[in-house]
């Protein structure tokens, strides 16, 4: 996909064209997937990769030279964060379903020494996703900041740049959103 097409789609999306997002999502998704494959191949048992590396690399690859433009960067990261969130949630749902069906259990036991943390983690990710939806219902901006910080792994400064507010504000919002989510999720992790 040529850079210019991605740029055009981002521009259309930012001016309110919902279809553009539908077209952008698979492009970003494919790119993330490609990068992930490479990372996985390279790092072996390393769990430290975070989505940050994925997103930044996808950005460099998809946007290339056009990436230096401020608004492109903004929109791209917003889309990437959404895509990553969607991928992780889909995955968590699939694992959950397989677990209920019993099919995936065996694989976990054989492959994954940390099978129990894995299962717990899946439940947590789903709970977080739902809580984030509830938060978005009354504070879209805060939910978006969480998405950028948490799913795309952006720093305070990067988040500030994407959302277009000061880093200090992001920091305050982040503290609050985190406090709220932590309270919402307490039930999940302790019970």
């Amino acid at each position: 996909m040529p850079t210019s097409d991605v740029t055009t789609l981002l521009a259309r999306w930012s001016s309110g064209d919902a279809d553009a997002l539908e077209q952008l999502t698979p492009i970003v998704y494919d790119e993330l997937r490609r990068i992930a494959r490479r990372h996985l191949a390279r790092e072996r048992r390393d769990h430290t990769l975070q989505s940050t590396a994925l997103v930044h690399e996808a950005y460099m690859r998809l946007m290339g030279g056009a990436g230096s433009e401020y608004h492109n960067r903004q929109h791209f990261f917003a889309v990437a964060a959404q895509v990553i969130r969607r991928v992780l949630v889909d995955h968590a749902r699939a694992v959950n379903a397989a677990k209920r069906g019993g099919g995936a259990q065996k694989i976990f036991l054989e492959d994954q020494p940390e099978a129990s943390t894995q299962a717990e983690n899946v439940a947590e990710v789903l709970a977080l996703h739902e809580a984030l939806d509830r938060l978005a219902a009354f504070d879209t901006q805060q939910a978006r900041i969480v998405e950028l910080r948490y799913f795309a792994g952006l720093s305070i400064e990067e988040t500030a740049e994407v959302v277009g507010i000061s880093p200090a504000t992001v920091k305050r919002v982040w503290v609050m959103a985190r406090a709220w989510l932590a309270r919402e999720l307490k039930g999940v992790s302790s019970g």
Binding site: R33, R34, A36, R37, R38, H39, L40, A41, R42, R44, R45, H47, T48, L49, Q50, S51, L54, V87, L88, H91, A92, V95, E114, T117, Q118, N121, V122, E124, V125, L128, A137, F138, D139, Y150, F151, S155, I156, K171, R172, W174, V175, M176, R178, A179, W180, L181, A182, R183, L185, K186, S189
Partner: protein, 832 residues
């Protein structure tokens, strides 16, 4: 919660957050203004926030995404995504199989003319890109030569746009060996015959300098007609560029290898060689015979297998196999192949195969580890077959005189007692190696015979070494035999058949035996001398392979060793001679890395010492040869340092010494060589002086000598290499003399000769560089003929080779000068 309500909560929360925790209550009371719900909500959030307010970036109450991201990435990496995509000229059709290292797809090449099915192996790990592609490009020529009925061909390879490494291979319809054995239950004889076919494939690859390093059941397919195909040959070689991934990763996890098949040295991450493949073949044979591997992993303790592999004491096949016909002799063969120490295994896959064949024919096997008594009993019973056939085969090569000696020996055998036979065979082998070989070395044309002779004798010694126990005398002989075999295979600067890989292996074996024999408490002069000699051999071999630093290191080691010996016995002429020769060698090493001053000093030292030796009245022609070489080499350095007058002095002395020698002994090929070398050196000097016609005359003399030698011994790679270089010099002088038109066919001839030499021995970095040098001179020639475009093309070809050697770290001082000059010439032509 509504947005309005949330805005209120947010407002109060953020106001309170700015304050010290102790001062917040008052602020809350003021802002909530009696709204107790609001107050409770903000309090609860502040409480939640205080629990991890310290660390902004790792929210402890939120789940870590690490594990799930990792899982997703794993999902993503599964193969299906490639189906339908195009890699190179191939479209991926379906997934054939998946393994630890990657996935194999069926690909189809659809050109206008033909449709071809291939197997495409995509490794599921990324590479450092450029390096590995470059490496593959280098290997491709070698892999293309692996044209053997039992080896699956590799056609191509590269990197997908996702950065994944892939190989395009011959598509084989067959089933893996283990499955084949389960399905068809072949007899022992059929299994052993199948195994011998695999040995022939491995042996063929080894002769082409390719090590497999991952031989296992799963890498062998059996086709419908029962023929085996060994897969993935040469892939490990390409991957070795990233050597870390072999064996164990940093966290101790087994990665690429299948540990059950991997040799102890492979598991230790050492350099792979043919001995590791022999080991894997042994494991394979064990499994084909016993239906299990020698060492099975312990599920409770995955690392325990490593200790078992290192100990090397598996159950004997004859005790566990359910096949009829498995006896102790087969145990001996299999267990010899999987000895933990490489030097105790079969030397080649052919030797292993031959032993299996002996077992099939109910002959005694060479691997039999039993006592000398047992073995000699076998000799008694079968000596015509087991001992003499080999000896006679060699005898027929060497000629009548030797044959009658052997026949006399044979008559002798039959009269003697069993124990004495052992001694005789040993002596025969030694004499074949040392006496006959020394005589043959002086005959032009004997290189091929010498190779066979020494190899065969080595077989005997190797076989006997099993019965030697702690016999250090035999160990010494064995080391000497390895060294001799190394010499014939590829010792630089003497007649050899250009198999550098085998030579290196032989020298290493010799060195390790000799080092094991040395006792630091009892410095033994003869062993020191042997070790020093092996150092010198290794030095010249490493220099040939382009590893000049390593070569220099061995030069220094050898010099140190000889100096120690001279210190122990200061009156020894022999030690003095060795120290002197070592200075000559060190000078060569230093000049190759461009340390001209060091080289000059070291060569002056060599000359001084040889002059002393000859002045002291030495009659040994070797000393005269040493002095001659010392003069010539010193002259070379002086010429390099632009001291033409001094250089000429030394060159003339060298030439007159060699002419003296040839008057004394005209049949010694080495004397002819020295005369030619002297002529070439003088030619170089005359060229520098601008006396091109005189230089050409000298070169023609040398070419005549080397052409005679080449006609007498077409296998001698060194002679052909000198011949090519001399023709090259002649052509260069012609161009300088203003006759590029007649020079051009000569340079083209050098290019052909050098390309042949380089492809015969891909490890010879110098030969690759010389191909570049010829391209460069063709460029000069065409440039002088005003053919700018073609000249530029030739320079670019030269440049590609020089660059490659530079990238591989195989560039020496001369090649560096060539590279810079070529670059300069390209730039000049591009500007014009």
């Amino acid at each position: 919660m509504t947005a309005e309500r949330w805005a209120q909560v947010k407002d109060v929360f953020q106001q309170a957050l700015l304050l010290e925790p102790g001062k917040r209550e008052a602020c809350l009371a003021m802002h909530c203004n009696g709204d107790s719900d609001l107050l409770a909500e903000v309090r609860s959030l502040l409480e939640s926030a205080s629990e991890d307010a310290e660390i902004l970036d790792t929210p402890s109450h939120l789940p870590s995404l690490g594990p799930i991201v990792h899982r997703v990435k794993e999902e993503w990496s599964k193969g299906d995504v490639l189906i339908g995509r195009v890699i190179g000229p191939y479209r991926i059709q379906s997934l054939i199989g998946e393994g630890g290292m990657g996935s194999v797809y069926l690909g189809v090449r659809e050109d206008a003319e033909f449709r071809m099915q291939v197997a495409i192996k995509v490794l599921n790990r990324a590479t450092s890109g450029y390096d590995i592609v470059e490496r593959f490009r280098l290997e491709r020529q070698i892999l293309a030569r692996l044209n053997h009925p039992f080896i699956a061909r590799i056609f191509d390879g590269g990197i997908t746009e996702d950065g994944l490494l892939y190989f395009v291979m011959e598509y084989i319809q067959g089933i893996p060996l283990d499955e084949y054995l389960r399905r068809t239950h072949p007899s022992l004889v059929e299994r052993l015959q199948l195994f011998r076919e695999l040995c022939s494939a491995v042996s063929f690859a080894h002769q082409n300098l390719v090590v497999h390093s991952d031989i296992k059941m799963g890498n062998i397919l059996i086709m419908e007609d029962g023929m085996p195909k060994l897969l993935d040959f040469g892939i490990s070689r390409v991957l070795d560029a990233e050597g870390k991934d072999r064996g164990f990763s940093d966290d101790g996890q087994v990665t690429a290898l299948t540990p059950a098949y991997a040799s102890p040295e492979q598991l230790r991450g050492e350099q792979l060689n043919t001995a590791s493949d022999i080991y894997s073949l042994g494991v394979l044979l064990y499994e084909m015979v016993c239906d299990r591997r020698p060492y099975e992993p312990d599920p409770g303790n995955p690392l325990a297998i490593l200790a078992k592999i290192a100990a090397g004491n598996p159950p004997r096949p004859s005790e566990i196999s359910t096949l009829p016909g498995v006896h102790q002799d087969l145990d001996a063969v299999i267990l010899k192949a999987i000895q933990p120490r490489p030097e105790n295994r079969f030397i080649t896959a052919n030797h292993l195969s031959q032993d299996v064949s002996r077992y099939l024919n109910h002959q005694p096997v060479s691997a039999c580890p039993d006592t000398a008594l047992y073995h000699t009993r076998k000799f008694l019973r079968r000596n015509r077959v087991a001992v003499m056939v080999g000896g006679l085969a060699v005898a027929s090569l060497v000629g009548g005189v030797v044959a009658s000696t052997l026949l006399a020996n044979r008559a002798e055998y039959e009269r003697q007692r069993a124990e004495a036979r052992f001694e005789d065979v040993r002596q025969l082998a030694s004499s074949m190696i040392f006496e006959l070989d020394a005589d043959l070395a002086k005959l032009p044309g004997a290189t091929g015979v010498r190779g066979k002779l020494v190899e065969r004798a080595l077989e005997y010694l190797d076989r006997l070494s099993h019965e030697s126990g702690g016999d250090s005398g035999l160990q010494r002989e064995l080391a000497a035999a390895y060294e001799k075999l190394g010499d014939v295979q590829g010792r630089p600067n003497v007649a050899n058949i250009g198999n550098t890989a085998l030579a290196l292996e032989c020298y290493r074996k010799a060195l390790s035996i000799r080092e094991a024999l040395s006792d630091p408490k009892k410095p033994e002069l003869s062993n020191k001398a042997d070790i020093a000699q092996t150092y010198s051999r290794l030095s010249s071999l490493h220099k040939l392979m382009g590893d000049y630093q390593m070569g220099l290191q061995y030069d220094r080691d050898a010099l140190r060793m000889y100096q120690e010996m001279l210190a122990l016995d200061p009156n020894s002429l022999e030690h003095r001679r060795k120290v002197a020769s070592s200075y000559t060698g060190l000078g060569g090493g230093l000049s190759q890395i461009g340390d001209w001053d060091g080289a000059l000093e070291s060569r002056r030292q060599a000359l001084r010492m040889f002059e002393e030796i000859v002045a002291a009245g030495s009659e040994d022609p070797e000393d005269k040869r040493g002095l001659c070489l010392a003069h010539r080499r010193l002259g070379g350095i002086l010429l390099m340092l632009k001291d033409a007058k001094q250089a000429e002095n030394h060159y003339r002395k060298a030439l007159s010494l060699s002419q003296e020698m040839i008057r004394e002994n005209a049949t010694d090929a080495r004397n002819l060589n020295d005369v030619a070398a002297g002529a070439i050196a003088l030619g170089g000097l005359l060229h520098e002086n601008g006396q091109y016609l005189e230089a050409m005359e000298r070169y023609r003399q040398a070419i005549q000598i080397h052409e005679d030698l080449a006609a007498a011994d077409p296998l001698d790679a060194r002679n052909r290499s000198i011949l090519a270089s001399t023709v090259y010099r002649l052509a260069r002088a012609m161009i300088a003399a203003g006759d590029p038109v007649h020079a051009l066919p000569l340079v083209r001839r050098t290019l052909d000769m050098r390309e042949a030499l380089a492809s015969e021995n891909p490890m010879n970095a110098g030969a690759q560089g010389e191909v570049g040098e010829s391209h460069m001179l063709i460029g000069d020639c065409l440039g002088a003929m005003r053919d700018r475009a073609q000249a530029l093309a030739s320079y670019r070809r030269a440049m590609a080779i020089f660059r490659q050697l530079q990238i591989e770290g195989k560039e020496n001082a001369v090649l560096e000068i060539h590279r810079r000059e070529t670059l300069e010439k390209i730039r000049r032509l591009e500007r014009s």
